[in-house]
């Protein structure tokens, strides 16, 4: 069984970020990157399935050579090899990323294509769905449990939906996107970190993948920093609080 995992890096969520002067993006001088947490869940699930079904896990990511650090972290966790599609990651939108991943799918022909349900930087939650559409594959998004049958033909996926859980069966190959509660990602082991540096990262570009439509469908107009938090006020009594909630905040 072959499992492909889309693995994206995001700016360290704990870091303080700043916009560039022209507000076209985030100033990336001296920011640190980490793997997108949902992608870590996707990889963990892929590794568990591969261990159980004697499979191979392949990472795929899109960006310049500086994303190799994040890719190596994924390889250290147990993926066998990786594919990096050379593209400036600042000029990607969900649609182009999905076209890239769909093209890689055609090269690799995996049984399962795992994604994180969304990346925590732009929070689009589109990539997995678009890839399934472009490839005409069944999809199960927001997975909190995945069970693969003994023959490796059917995935039974529990999805976290509004108001409860939905369990569906998919015929493989399929696209599955991971939610946080799917699993607890493992820690890399030191010998595996050592080995990760020797694993292959194949680099492809858009021409190699015959991607014709490279147009961005989304135009970034501008970015705004969140407004600073206003100072609070102390109220003298419960009556005053209720009054303010009712008449000023209109929360009641």
């Amino acid at each position: 069984m072959k499992i492909l995992v889309a693995f994206k890096r995001v700016i360290d969520p704990d870091a303080r970020i700043k916009l560039t002067a022209d507000r076209s993006g985030v100033d990336t001088d001296s920011v640190e990157y980490k793997a997108n947490p949902f992608c870590e869940n996707a990889l963990e699930e892929a590794l568990q399935i591969a261990e159980e079904h004697d499979g191979e896990v392949v990472l795929v990511s899109a960006g310049g050579p500086d994303i190799d650090k994040t890719i190596r972290a994924g390889l250290a966790l147990g993926a066998e090899r990786a594919i990096r599609v050379e593209i400036e990651d600042t000029v990607l939108d969900s649609d182009l990323a999905a076209r890239v991943f769909a093209a890689v799918y055609k090269e690799e022909e995996p049984d399962i294509f795992f994604f994180g349900k969304q990346a925590i930087d732009s929070d689009n939650n589109q990539c997995g769905q678009l890839v399934a559409e472009y490839l005409g594959l069944p999809q199960a998004c927001f997975a909190s449990e995945v069970v693969i049958d003994d023959d490796g033909e059917v995935a039974t996926v529990t999805r976290e939906v509004d108001g409860g859980l939905e369990t569906i069966a998919l015929t493989l190959p399929a696209v599955i996107t991971a939610d946080l509660r799917l699993n607890t990602p493992r820690f890399a082991k030191l010998p595996d970190i050592m080995k990760a540096g020797r694993k292959t990262i194949d680099v492809m570009d858009l021409d190699d993948l015959d991607i014709e439509d490279t147009a961005l469908k989304i135009e970034l107009v501008s970015l705004e920093e969140p407004s600073a938090r206003q100072a609070g006020v102390k109220v003298g009594s419960i009556d005053e609080l209720v009054d303010k909630l009712k008449n000023e905040a209109r929360a009641l």
Binding site: S30, K69, F187, K189, L190, M194, A196
Partner: protein, 618 residues
Amino acid sequence: MSEFYADMRDIRFNLFDFLKLGDLKKHERFAHADPELISDILDMAFQQAAEVLYPINEIGDRVGAKLVDGKVVMPPGFKEAYKTYSESGWTGLSVDPEHGGQGLPFVCHLATQELFTAANVNFMFTPGLTHGAMGLIAEFGTADQKATYVEKMVTGEWAGTMCLTEPQAGTAVPDLKSTATPIEGREGFYKIKGQKIFISSGDHELTDNIIHLYLARVEGDPPGAKGVSLFVVPKYRVEGGKAGAFNDISTVALEEKLGLHGSATCQLSFGDNDDCEGWLLGGQGNGLKCMFKMMNEARIAVGIQGVGLPAFAYEKALRYSKERVQGSRVSDMKKKDADRVAIIEHPDVRRMLLRVKAISQAGRAMLYYGAYCFDNHLVAADEKESAHWMHQLEILTPIIKAWCSDEGFNACVEALQVFGGYGYIKEYGVEQLLRDAKIASIYEGTNGIQAMDLLGRKVARGGGVMMRTMLGEVTKFIEGPAKEGPLQGEVVALGKATAALGQVAMSFGQTMMKGDVDYPMMHATGFLQMFGDVIGSWLLTSQATIAQTKLDERLSAKGIDANDQAELTTYLQDDADARFWHGKVQSARFFANQILPRVRARAAQVKTEDRSALNVVF
């Protein structure tokens, strides 16, 4: 409650920008030690420190290790964390691949250990002692002994301890009463009998077996140091590669301590039923020689505690001082309705913070430099080069142990002070760091013993070659290009302090030649502190010259005027790299101007020839 923080930038700066670890790659032994790889390993170590070890730090302190029905029960979560830690392979980071390790430089091992120690020093006793005990068997063991124990200890499947101290034999180890009686027909095996106290991780349920390294006297051997031998004494005898029959070792009691509640400090009784077997290690009568090898490593490890704990206390104090609003700016005191400000705006708080930071960074620089000397000695081209590095490490060992643990503890005191009353209560966890840090000046040879080792042995040995080599490195810097650079004032101060240190050493030599050992020894602790201050200032100022260059490049690329303090301050708030480099320079300046002057004050103390402490009748 709170989170784990560490100055990863400073750790990386030490390894890659200052020590230039990448250069070790040219040696076959370290050809695999890519800076990129090491950086990935540091990230992983930080993640485990933060996510595996720190979450069980507070509970380790509050619940503590307990003795239940004669068995030690470790605090909740320790067993699971030990499993993750061991499976991750941390113990083997710098261990020879022949023994199942990764063979990376020792300095990388120390960097990861600093993170783990800061996150949970209590937890680190078991893996730390296992590493030390394993190292001794790997070095002095027979092929059989190595095959039996080493790999299982590298993987953490079995733990290790060091059993030295007895009630009447603490610092004076050769006064021990433990005995070993040859077992007829089984060469190398002995019946062991005796009591040991203060045995860290002496018993626990984290592993299937615990391998004690035990000092005892073989029946009939002479009293004193020459009659002491070392034995491998497992909790369970090894049968077919597995833990088998119980080896008659019982836990009599657990110590109640000031700190380190999550570390099981045991009183152990060996051979109560005359059924405890030990296996001689390293030859009869060689016990202390072997143990010294381990003690040197353990002394460096104590230095890690003297760096990791204050470094984390600093991170906590820094965050608190930015949140805690009290009073208005001193310069606004007379203004009516002046703005209330966070305490980090107050000059006295800033002084405390920078002091804790400078001490932690100086300790780290010293610790890593010592380990780097060890790595370089391993790959030295010839004996002369090897000696050049080992002389430095040997003289630095007592300094790393004692300077880092004394100054590190004092830095924890100062970090707690930043919190005011909130530091004295448990909520912020800084009081735990202070309590846990205190032991470092006491065990593995008290700091008084370290000072005597420095002054009595290291300074004098080989006609003073160690001190000459070490201060030769310092002098190279003082007389190099830095004396013309932006830190020239600090370089001059370092030069004066180094000269004062040399003069004191010389005067002690003369006094001792006249047969007066007491006077120099009364000042041994002060002498060690002087030496540590010089080394700390040397390393911080060297680092600052590198940081200043990097800062200047960044500022000029961004068009920032470094002389406009307001513009610079605003810029630094948003550029973490530049803020770090700028901070390195401030640490070095603070150290040279606010701490280093102690050296000359101490030299003046020595000059007084005041003998009151020797003459007083108590």
